[in-house]
Symmetry: C2
Subunit: 193 residues, 2 copies
């Protein structure tokens, strides 16, 4: 039997990258689970940010941001960047994470995180206490060590991305591969003659 649970913001599961705004001189990082791909042509990322966030101020000042996907081994650093505010503390000093310049945007990328997207803001949508920010992904970086043998595709098992689970407020990693997409569903199609 299904129970009604009322309005909710809980999706399962959620990615949990660090979003960086600012410059090499003054940057802030925020753990953002309310984020996902927003389009393919041009490739775009969208994310919900609370209006009070220091990272949002920096994104608006420079018109760009980076998305940095960390491995599960960095759960503590990512968590810290969701707990405290860049208005009050220096997250870089606390966590020991360091920055590298991006190629095409002001916002730097996180050196220790193996997958990084450079994004230029294209749209903002006001939604109550949040702003939904959409950015075009104009460059991406990956550590050689997390690439598949083709050298062009991220091996998600090597990336080992952190996920956030709302409700129970916990972090998890990904499980093993279950099936090929664009393939396993074909069993429902009538046989070709």
């Amino acid at each position: 039997m299904k129970l009604n649970l009322g309005p909710t913001d809980r999706m399962y599961p959620m990615p949990c990258p660090l979003v960086v705004g600012g410059t090499m001189e003054a940057a802030d990082a925020l753990a953002v689970a309310w984020i996902g791909t927003a389009g393919g042509t041009p490739p775009s990322i969208g994310m919900a940010l609370r209006k009070t966030r220091r990272t949002l101020e920096l994104i608006r000042e420079n018109g760009d941001f980076t998305v940095n996907i960390g491995p599960t081994s960095r759960a503590a650093e990512i968590d810290l960047c969701g707990i405290v505010s860049g208005h009050n503390v220096d997250k870089w000093e606390l966590t020991g994470l360091t920055l590298e310049p991006s190629r095409s945007v002001s916002a730097p990328i996180i050196a220790q995180f193996p997958y990084n997207l450079e994004c230029r803001v294209t749209n903002e949508v006001e939604l109550g206490e949040y702003v939904f920010v959409i950015g075009e992904v104009i460059e991406s970086h990956a550590e050689e060590s997390i690439l598949s043998q083709d050298g062009k595709t991220v091996d998600v098992g090597l990336l080992d991305p952190l996920m956030y689970i709302p409700g129970s407020r916990e972090y998890r990693g990904i499980g093993p591969k279950l099936a090929d997409a664009y393939s396993i569903g074909k069993q429902f199609l009538p046989p070709k003659e």
Copy 2:
């Protein structure tokens, strides 16, 4: 060493629910991995849909949609709904999935999927060949069998949600719990005196 991989729409990982548009009489379902929470006040979901999709037509006709999170055991049904078009085939007949009326919107929910969100469209953002659709989540449903002991929170282990991995184009499930959020990061804070 980091390599530049160019513009990309690949985030890791992605959820992979079925989004339903239409009515009990005429509905279509689409597997949507480009989806996530878009705000908290009001609770909102955002998703990128290719403009040619039948499901988008139905969402625009009625102004609402549902998000239906399926377990990994339904990977084949979800995959089928991303492979074929509702313009040409009846996905309900092919997969055997059935519909139940929603409480507050025209779009029905999928009976066999244990977590369902009812959404009313609030915003659309045009992004090239895609439309980013934002909807307010006005009701949610969960099977009693996937709830935690408090009866109010989804137990994500029991839900066992399917994820999509771009690039390698595969489906995965979630791994075990690694850490408590809003907690593990506190190790970086100075001790309170």
